[in-house]
């Protein structure tokens, strides 16, 4: 079996797109039979075969996305094993807010997952959560998901793992148009095309998506999801200066507008208005191969995100609430790969990043400067044993430097079984909000939150003397410079290629997290309202096991099933439980009783069991394809009614949920495909705890594709 490295060195001298021609599987019919030969890049920032990577990696192909009828990133990710789409946020053990759809990986919350677009970080998080419905995926080549701490390569936020969206390669000549409509007037129109010439290639993608929203609870005057529309435009250009030098410039612009309506104090105060999100990025990358041993890339990345919301009183048009948030991100980075020998690759690189945030919630615009440098060595011994060691150094103008190591190994026992183990560190820098928030919620409770850099005990003492502050709580004295949240994760797994039909993937994981940032009340105003600030306060752990199997039933039918078992916990709460300090209410008679470790259900918003079962039918000859996917999650804690920090009564849980999604499609005369689908066949909804899941809905789409 030719090693990947050899394949690369031959082809790189010869051909045009030296980073895409090793892309093995044909984007035609059968999904993923040769998945193990798939080349992935996220696990090590170098191209490696999926069968060789030592870190748990999942690949979602564009064919799978087509068969599932998924339009946006959240739709396809929620069907993957071990990933949970959650509208909760925050790393605290007790609840959080609702800030859009984020991804939970190995039990770590959405602010600990990094989302990349072609290797560059996507920005624009509200309350730490990146709303994944912003990203249209009709045009992407594949999604690579790497689980476990990956800060040794990607820096801050890569604590639970990394999701990398890889867009279309520039090859061939193609034009595609897609029209789709469905429930809630959810209309989607997309046009894309690429043209590849001798040296240059160009690709564009344009999409408009709109919906009337839906209402899961007809008793409230508000809709569960308000009407919205959005535009996505992408343009990619590449130019081969020579067989060894290539320039690719990618750009993306996204605009969305959503109505909002809230019955704050119906009918006395109803407010309405809209929220607008804009985000763009520009990413020029220059690739150059210096020799058959050394290649390098220089990446520039500029990205902007803005969110503006205005709410006015419906009765008299008076301004009720206005919010704006602007973030800019610029990075310059270099990565160089050296094939020291046939068995050894050394990768190193570094870069500079600057970030600006300007929002009405901070006192003044804020800026952060960061430097990073990373190095990784991959050593292959006798083709059976691979060891990868990596280290990354992150310097930030606002807090202490961070060193993130990682060690992973892959052992091929025979040509059917391989074992892998990895240990790595992850971290998440305190974000702008936790450092600089200066927010007074005037409406109603009047509580205020200050970022740790905006807060000072001396200031509070002054205010107390003036009679403005009534009480300073002990937590106020704990506020000091915020440290990054840190984690260390251990993954142990096996990949079994039983025969050419059956594949089994097994992984055990354990993550220990410390310095979790949470808001705590620090003082009480003289009018009784509370002042909060952020402190590094919690320690937590997540552990579990994940198993995935795929089975090629017949030539055209593929079955896949996955299951994840997850246990999480806040270490301080567990300690207090063991010391008999925590009570909970008894479910039967409401009396308070001592909690035991058996009663402790772990962090809120985590499901102990998650399972999926999917069947895909794909026949290139007849042109028919179909799919049915079952996705189950067991009940998860959502409330803490008895003040102990976790869910222990039935009323504190959201009930378990089963989503059943189906599609059927037919390709006519090689150009035209029609697809029909029904999602949430079992119509399982929960207005309060799953607002982003609509009831049973259908769609029909037509796709016209012209290829040369």
């Amino acid at each position: 079996m030719k090693s990947v490295r050899q394949l690369k060195s031959i082809s790189s001298i010869s051909c045009i797109c030296f980073f895409t021609n090793t892309y093995v599987f044909a984007q035609k019919s059968l999904p993923d039979t040769s998945l193990l030969d798939e080349i992935v890049v996220t696990a090590t920032r170098t191209e490696r075969k999926l069968s060789n990577v030592a870190i748990p990696t999942t690949v979602i192909s564009s064919r799978l996305i087509q068969l599932s009828g998924s339009l946006r990133l959240n739709e396809i990710l929620q069907e993957q094993s071990g990933l949970l789409l959650t509208s909760g946020s925050g790393s605290s053990a007790v609840g959080g807010g609702i800030f859009g759809n984020g991804i939970q990986m190995q039990g770590l919350s959405p602010d600990h997952t990094m989302i990349l677009l072609d290797g560059e970080p996507l920005i624009g998080r509200q309350g730490g959560v990146m709303d994944l419905s912003r990203f249209a995926i009709g045009n992407i080549r594949k999604i690579e998901i790497v689980k476990g701490p990956s800060s040794s390569l990607y820096g801050s936020e890569a604590m639970g793992g990394v999701v990398n969206i890889i867009t279309e390669p520039l090859q061939g000549k193609q034009l595609q148009a897609t029209l789709r409509t469905g429930s809630f007037y959810n209309n989607d129109v997309a046009l894309s095309g690429n043209y590849t010439g001798q040296k240059a290639a160009i690709y564009f993608y344009s999409n408009r998506n709109s919906s009337n929203g839906y209402d899961l609870n007809k008793t409230t005057p508000e809709k569960t999801v308000d009407p919205f529309y959005s535009y996505t435009n992408q343009l990619k250009f590449s130019y081969n200066f020579s067989p060894a030098t290539k320039l690719i410039i990618s750009s993306r612009y996204y605009y969305s507008n959503q109505d909002s309506y809230y019955a704050i104090n119906s009918p006395v105060l109803n407010v309405g208005g809209s929220g607008t999100v804009k985000d763009y990025n520009i990413n020029p990358v220059l690739y150059h191969r210096f020799s058959h041993i050394v290649k390098s890339q220089l990446r520039l990345y500029a990205s902007g995100y803005s969110f503006v919301q205005q709410l006015d009183s419906i009765a008299n048009g008076k301004k009720y609430y206005a919010d704006n948030f602007n973030q800019y991100f610029f990075r310059a980075e270099n990565q160089t790969d050296i094939d020291c020998s046939k068995n050894n690759t050394f990768t190193f690189g570094g870069g500079y990043t600057v970030q600006n945030v300007n929002t009405s919630r901070y006192r003044e615009p804020k800026q952060q400067h960061m430097f990073h440098a990373f190095a990784q060595d991959e050593w292959v011994y006798r083709k059976n044993l691979t060891i990868i060691a990596g280290l990354r150094y992150d310097y930030n103008s606002d807090f202490a430097t961070r060193l993130s190591p990682k060690l992973s190994t892959n052992v091929k026992l025979n040509n059917k079984i391989q074992l892998n183990a990895s240990y790595g560190a992850g971290f998440k820098a305190p974000d702008f909000r936790q450092l600089y928030l200066n927010f007074l919620n005037n409406a109603g409770d009047g509580y205020s939150i200050f970022g740790s850099s905006e807060f000072s005990v001396n200031n509070l003492l002054e205010q107390k003397m003036l009679g403005l502050v009534a009480d300073i709580l002990p937590a106020a004295y704990q506020i000091k410079s915020l440290m990054p949240e840190i984690s260390s994760g251990f993954n142990l797994g096996a990949k079994i290629n039983a025969n050419d039909k059956l594949n089994i993937d097994l992984n055990f994981f354990r993550n220990d997290i410390a310095n979790l940032i949470n808001y705590l009340p620090v003082a009480v105003n003289s009018n009784g309202t509370s002042i909060f600030s952020y402190v590094n306060v919690n320690s937590a752990f997540t552990q579990g096991a994940e198993i995935n199997t795929t089975y090629q039933l017949f030539k055209n039918i593929k079955l896949s099933g996955g299951y994840q078992f997850l246990q999480t916990g806040d270490k301080d709460i567990l300690e207090q439980i063991k010391n008999n300090k925590i009570y909970g209410r008894d479910m039967v008679n409401g009396a308070a009783r001592l909690m035991t470790t058996k009663d402790y259900s772990g962090l809120l918003n985590r499901s102990k069991h998650m399972a999926n079962f999917r069947v895909f039918y794909d026949d290139a000859t007849s042109g028919w394809s179909a799919s049915i996917r079952f996705i189950y999650r067991s009940r998860w804690g959502v409330l803490d009614k008895d003040g102990n920090g976790f869910a222990n009564m039935d009323a504190e849980y959201a009930p378990s949920n089963l989503q059943i999604n189906t599609t059927v499609a037919k390709k006519f005369n090689n150009h035209f495909t029609a697809q029909f689908g029904i999602n949430n066949l079992a119509n399982q909804t929960n207005a309060q705890f799953m607002p982003n899941t609509p009831g049973l809905n259908w769609f029909i789409s037509m796709n016209y594709s012209l290829k040369k």
Binding site: E222, I264, R585, A592, G643
Partner: protein
């Protein structure tokens, strides 16, 4: 006068029984059981304005017109609790929050009752009995905490707060972003009308 043996015996028995009865009375004072009840009441959901008064003797809300009296023992507004004594009222109420479950508090402590010093320095601090989540605007009474009161009329009562739900004016639950106008508290209390400290 000399008593016969029979008379001596009867006299002794009578004396003995009288002594025993007197003695028994001393060993076994009459124990009036405390009244135990679970009640719900609505409290203003605004951080400013009038408090809602409550008295253990009647086990019911007390009208504001009776604020200058011993009819009420404690009052609530949103999540603030005041007691009828010192700066808050004419009575002699006092309160302490124990980290012992309701059923385990069998006797009220003798000392340690706090009262409100000023309108901002209260006997009961929020952190004593609930955890607050500003994002969901919900606060959860901590299980296992018991309030022990010396009432305005010098009787004793213990109370635990079971739930604190945000509601509208009619007591129907509301969820964010709708703002609550009232908070519905459900409490379980035991009131010892005899004036002893035994529950």
């Amino acid at each position: 006068m000399k008593f016969s043996i029979k008379q001596q015996f009867v006299l002794a028995a009578t004396l003995f029984l009288t002594a025993a009865m007197v003695g028994c009375k001393k060993d076994n004072p009459a124990v009036t059981p405390a009244t135990i009840a679970t009640k719900s009441f609505l409290v203003s959901g605004s951080p400013v304005g009038a408090f809602n008064l409550y008295g253990f003797e009647t086990g019911a809300p007390v009208l504001n017109t009776d604020s200058v009296s011993n009819k009420w023992d404690f009052a609530m507004r949103f999540e603030k609790i005041i007691v009828n004594s010192n700066s808050s009222g004419p009575g002699n109420a006092g309160v302490q929050v124990l980290s012992t479950p309701f059923d385990a508090v069998t006797t009220a402590p003798e000392v340690g009752y706090r009262y409100d010093t000023t309108s901002t320095n209260l006997a009961v601090k929020g952190t004593d009995w609930y955890t607050y989540n500003p994002t969901t605007r919900s606060f959860s009474p901590i299980a296992g905490k018991t309030f022990v009161f010396r009432t305005a009329a010098n009787k004793y009562a213990k109370m635990e707060i079971l739930t604190a739900d945000p509601t509208d004016d009619n007591g129907a639950m509301v969820t964010p972003p709708t703002r609550p106008t009232k908070i519905k508290y459900t409490i379980r209390y035991a009131y010892q009308a005899s004036g002893t400290r035994v529950f």
